[in-house]
Amino acid sequence: MCIKNSNMSETFVPSDYFPVVIFFIFALLIGFGTLLLGVVLRPKRPYTQKLYPYESGNPPVGEPRYKFSVKFYIIAMLFVVFDVEAVFLYPWAVAYNKLGIFGFAEMMLFVFILLIGYIYVWKKGAFDWE
């Protein structure tokens, strides 16, 4: 029941991305490898006192949760938006020579609109870390 004219294998050459796969495998190997090495080589002699969370000698009281400040969320949200802006800048920069003066003006308009957003956030105090 496949689609008859499957032209997927035309120009996609998987071997092009072989280096990426090697890189990935090495990253996994190194990451897991060091952890595994630690687990294997560590001496394991746990007793109750050692497993308690460290509180400078005092016995721990209550749950280890604290009031999370919402400013982390605002910063992450703003990061997403400005990251998307940066991503729009990449192909523009690559194709800059072919786009002429209008290409420049369009991107300046885009950046200007987001600049106004930036000024707005700045003056509203979302960047103040207390």
């Binding site: 003066i101 209008f102 609109i113 106004i116 957003g117 000024i119 707005y120 003056k123």
Partner: protein
């Protein structure tokens, strides 16, 4: 890169550019100016400038297609833009005092309203599915934020959350429909889709029908057709009342504008197919809206269900399948805007410090203490029911006329039956106001801008009811064959 071409393009989107500039100015003004009335005034002034711009561009009788055929300027889009301009002006007028009472008087409110209106205008002028989607997202995002503006109230947060979740799902379905249509026709431009459907001869294909279903579902969500209406009562109830007024008209008009354009231009040859979906949807919508509204005690929820029912009536104009049918839907939307915003303006009047004023019981005996307000509410309720000589009757009359002319007489009969059922809950408000004794003393919050808005809406509802030909001719000339 053709310079002359760019200048033409920019001239054609002047109204949208004006509104964007106004929104940006408002955003920055909010940082320096403390008085919200200045912001409202700038907002209204900017909208009037944009309206003037649209009026000047109205002289092009042939549709102008700019920006690589993605944005089209024709009478259809200009008429809907007129609805959007009036919508935002009336919303700003009714919200000044109200947002201060709700302690949510943020300057961003006006900016977001203008962004939402810009999104709607882009939707009305979209000739390409991608621009349509982006306009829809712009409008939707702005409206999600506006619905949640009363941050301290739980039901406002709930409203924004529900609206956002279901809106995001419907956007996903819309994108799925767009991608299916693109995959099957090779283009996202509405005209070219129609041409491709013709040359490839795939109008009978179930895959194209599936794509069409996804598109209709997504648009149906935006205009709150049943069974995609679940968000409407909670969102309408929880959002600030001025935003509810804005939301009940704006996204609905924009949704119908795109539905008309996509169904008539892109899928014009498949009328049998989309009518086969739309007819049951319209019947269920009218039924759900009219019947469930009977049980409501909160007037905002009641007006939400009434809004759902009205979407059903408007859908009949599209079902008629002719340009005149589309014109009757546009006509109904303009009339609906006046009567709905008027009704919500009265709901806003009842809200004062410490008293919500949203229960139907609060309207008891209003006629004795505030005869003028009750009289205005009577006009709006009569108009929503569709009683002559109000404009609501004219709106329904023309939609029913077109649907009968296209051969769906049974639909008109069903619609009339549900209109009669809906009379019960509309006239119940009137009965409470005039024939019951007041439970407690109700003082109304009035302000000059609210009175102006009430005057405009009430007068338009009465004038359009008695002299409908002006609007009708405007609509008929805007939406040619």
């Amino acid at each position: 890169m053709n310079t002359a071409n760019y200048l033409v393009d920019i001239t054609m989107i002047m109204p949208e550019l004006t509104l964007i500039c106004v929104a940006l100015i408002l955003l920055l003004l909010d940082l320096v100016v403390k008085n919200k009335e200045v912001l409202a005034a700038v907002g209204i002034a900017g909208t009037l400038v944009a309206l003037y711009g649209t009026y000047k561009l109205f002289v092009f009788h042939a549709p102008q297609s700019v920006f690589a055929d993605m944005f089209v300027l024709d009478g259809y889009s200009n008429f809907f833009k007129l609805i959007f301009y009036l919508n935002i002006i009336l919303t700003i007028l009714i919200s000044l005092k109200y947002m201060t009472i709700e302690k949510a008087s943020f300057g961003e409110y006006y900016s977001l309203l203008i962004f939402a209106t810009t999104g709607m205008m882009i939707m009305a002028s979209a000739a390409d599915l991608i621009v349509l989607y982006l306009g829809l997202e712009l409008m939707a995002l702005s409206t999600y934020i506006l619905a949640g503006l009363m941050r301290k109230q739980l039901r406002s947060n709930e409203a924004a959350l529900k609206y956002f979740f279901l809106g995001a799902f419907s956007s996903a379905i819309l994108l799925y429909g767009i991608s299916m249509t693109y995959g099957l026709t090779g283009t996202t431009n509405l005209r070219e889709i129609a041409a491709a459907l013709q040359t490839l001869n795939i109008m009978e294909s179930p895959a194209v029908f599936l794509g069409l279903i996804f598109l209709i579902v997504a648009f149906g969500f935006k205009v709150a057709l049943a069974p995609f209406h679940m968000w409407a009562p909670d969102v309408y109830e929880g959002a600030p009342t001025s935003i509810t007024a804005f939301m009940s008209v704006g996204p609905k008009a924009a949704g119908f504008a795109v539905m008309g354009r996509v169904l008539f231009e892109a899928f014009g040859g498949m009328q049998m197919q989309w009518n086969s979906i739309l007819i049951p949807l319209a019947v269920i919508t009218m039924a759900v809206g009219s019947i469930i509204a009977l049980a409501q005690t909160n007037i905002k929820r009641m007006l939400a269900y009434s809004s759902i029912a009205h979407a059903g009536y408007m859908l009949l104009g599209i079902i008629a399948g002719t340009p005149e049918g589309l014109a009757s839907t546009a006509n109904y939307l303009m009339i609906y805007m006046f009567m709905n915003i008027g009704a919500f303006a009265i709901v806003i009047m009842l809200r004062r410090e410490g008293f919500q004023g949203e229960n139907l019981d609060d309207y008891m005996g209003l006629a004795k203490s505030h005869p003028l307000a009750s009289a205005l509410m009577l006009i709006f309720m009569f108009s929503l029911t569709g009683i002559p000589p109000t404009a609501g009757f004219i709106g329904k009359f023309y939609v029913f006329m077109e649907v009968i002319r296209s051969g769906y007489t049974y639909l008109a009969i069903i619609a009339v039956i549900f209109s009669v059922i809906s009379a019960f809950f509309y006239l119940r408000v009137v009965m409470y106001m005039y024939m019951k004794d007041p439970k407690e003393d109700v003082t109304l919050t009035t302000s000059s801008t609210l009175s102006i808005a009430l005057a405009i809406t009430a007068i338009m509802v009465l004038i359009l009811g008695i002299f409908p030909s002006f609007l009708l001719n405007l609509v008929r000339s805007s939406i040619p064959g």
